[in-house]
Subunit: 340 residues, 2 copies
């Protein structure tokens, strides 16, 4: 792809204004003082030509960056798109543009994305890693500045902003127990994702006996099949608690398909609160993660590092709210198939 679209460089501007390129640079960056007459001439030339500084050339020489990178597992998950959206907004306020890539939840792609994003020499990276092995996908000696968000890498050497997964999941388990749900099936994509693992641990810590976990995988068809098989075989649990958004979506449809009514036949709760959960009947009880806060915190931490902050890695955990809605409000009467 040859560039024929942007022939307007600082040299052209300088020529048109009848000054040197250094003077143009000084006018635009306000480093050295420039006489009002020259400054005005330069400004007019800039306006006339619609000139904007070439950021990469500028970075190359000055070493001052105005680009940051974001790596997320995917962009269609509303969790992640909200994260990116918030990030984009707050980064811009600090004068940064954002290079956004998604890795489709695949380690291999993540490695390649990280490589290609590093090639732009961003001032820093914010990464929601697709698994724990993030550090294996970075150059051995001296990473770029990185803040990890949402999912916990095996390597504790990164700055980290995540949520209190175990606490929130435990609280949800308590709520279910308090509502009289005795047997609870917990469904999530895979325990290899730290979030799912921590959430399951949180549930298991609260209710060690009556809960079971089913790992459904990442692709929709597989989730549907595994969950359906699990619900058909053996005694039906009193409640279903799904640990991530994709699983929640498919589980909800599956319950309708199997004509299991919520909350009469089965209680239903979800980690990750999205707007449709308020719209369905009954509305779905969910753990609401502070996604925006997470984005703010991650960016703030990255800015601190970029400003030269050099201390030990910081690990921040934000707490979640539990939105109790109709899907877990157990009817007073005993359910039809209790202890079946």
């Amino acid at each position: 792809m040859l560039d024929r679209t942007s022939p307007v460089s600082i040299k052209i501007v300088a020529e048109r204004a009848g000054v040197s390129t250094a003077t143009v640079s000084n006018v635009l960056n306000g480093k050295t003082s420039v006489s009002p007459v020259f400054a005005e001439r330069v400004r007019r030339a800039v306006d006339d030509l619609g000139y904007v500084t070439d950021s990469s050339a500028s970075r190359l020489r000055s070493g001052r960056h105005s680009l940051a990178g974001v790596v997320v597992p995917n962009l269609t998950n509303p969790m992640f798109s909200a994260f990116v959206s918030t990030l984009e907004c707050v980064a811009r306020q600090d004068g940064f543009d954002l290079l956004v890539v998604s890795c489709d939840n695949e380690a291999e792609q993540e490695a390649e994305r990280l490589r290609s994003i590093r090639s732009w020499r961003p001032a820093g990276l914010i990464v929601i890693p697709c698994d724990g092995a993030l550090s294996a996908r970075l150059p051995k000696g001296g990473h770029p500045r990185i803040v990890v968000a949402d999912r916990i890498p095996d390597d504790a050497g990164f700055d980290l902003v995540a949520v209190e997964n175990a606490l929130a999941a435990g609280a949800m388990a308590s709520h279910l127990a308090a509502q009289g749900y005795r047997t609870c099936l917990v469904a999530g994509s895979t325990l290899e994702i730290s979030n799912v693992r921590e959430r399951w641990d949180g549930v298991a810590a609260v209710a060690p006996e009556s809960v079971h976990m089913v790992e459904c995988g990442l692709d929709p068809a597989g989730i549907h099949r595994r969950l359906r098989d699990r619900l058909r075989q053996g005694p039906r649990p009193d409640a279903l608690f799904t640990l991530d958004h994709v699983t929640t979506l498919i589980a909800y449809q599956l319950l309708a398909e199997l004509e299991i009514s919520i909350p009469d036949d089965m209680g239903f709760a979800s980690f990750d609160d999205t707007e449709w959960m308020r719209l369905v009947t009954p509305p779905v009880t969910a753990v609401r993660q502070p996604v925006e806060d997470m984005a703010h915190a991650a960016w703030a931490q990255l800015m601190r590092r970029m400003a030269g902050g050099d201390g030990a890695p910081e690990h921040l955990r934000l707490s979640c709210a539990i939105e109790i809605r109709g899907s877990t409000l157990r009817p007073k009467r005993e359910p039809k198939n209790a202890a079946a």
Copy 2:
């Protein structure tokens, strides 16, 4: 922000491999042939140091770009995030990274975003403009390569990929009429957005007498208030057709709030199909836009231009599907308040 993180340049690699920088470049880009011995030495040095080419320096010298820009009204709207997600995926296959910015539906921000994105000298831009005046926000002489998507700018000089708004909206109006809905209220954000305008025109063309339009604006609180006032005053329409996702969401909640039951008291249909519309009861009839196709087409067109395609601007319109669901299936009995 000073760069202290990436001291590994091609010069360091050359030194370690005991060759010149030109040779390193030749090995990496495969332009000129390099002897196997030297090539291997270089590759080892590259691996050891974790070197990746500085894309901006490379672009600066070679004029070959591997960056494209995307400007969208916002990222939280699932329509737009799906668009960006698809685009990111397909652009990557052609070796491009994506600079993503959102303008919060504000013209002023759009102008600033366009400026800052141009500073990266992208090979091309894909823009969903927030209003019709896009060309006023670009430099007078010679734009960067741009493909406009989804919304129609006043200036017909852009390549364009959008959907058959009027046709689809008209088809929906016909469906409503066929179901026996006689009076229909049409609600959308504002007629200043071309999509809303075209959709409304499409409805009006089919059913010129019994339809009315209400413009609700862009902010949630305003939409809720205006729509509520409109529904309270005067005779209640048989059906409500909302023209964009935000309005749909708020309208749906409002109907529940006003205890208007769907489809008995009122039919309900939406432009923009999102996943929750299948999950609620009754499920919501909606026009499904081919967002992924739109992204594919926009990128393909941009690639064509980047490859030197120089013809007249191309305007492509994709057709939409209508997903008929329970919310517009009128019960056989006469509705309670017919012709009230």
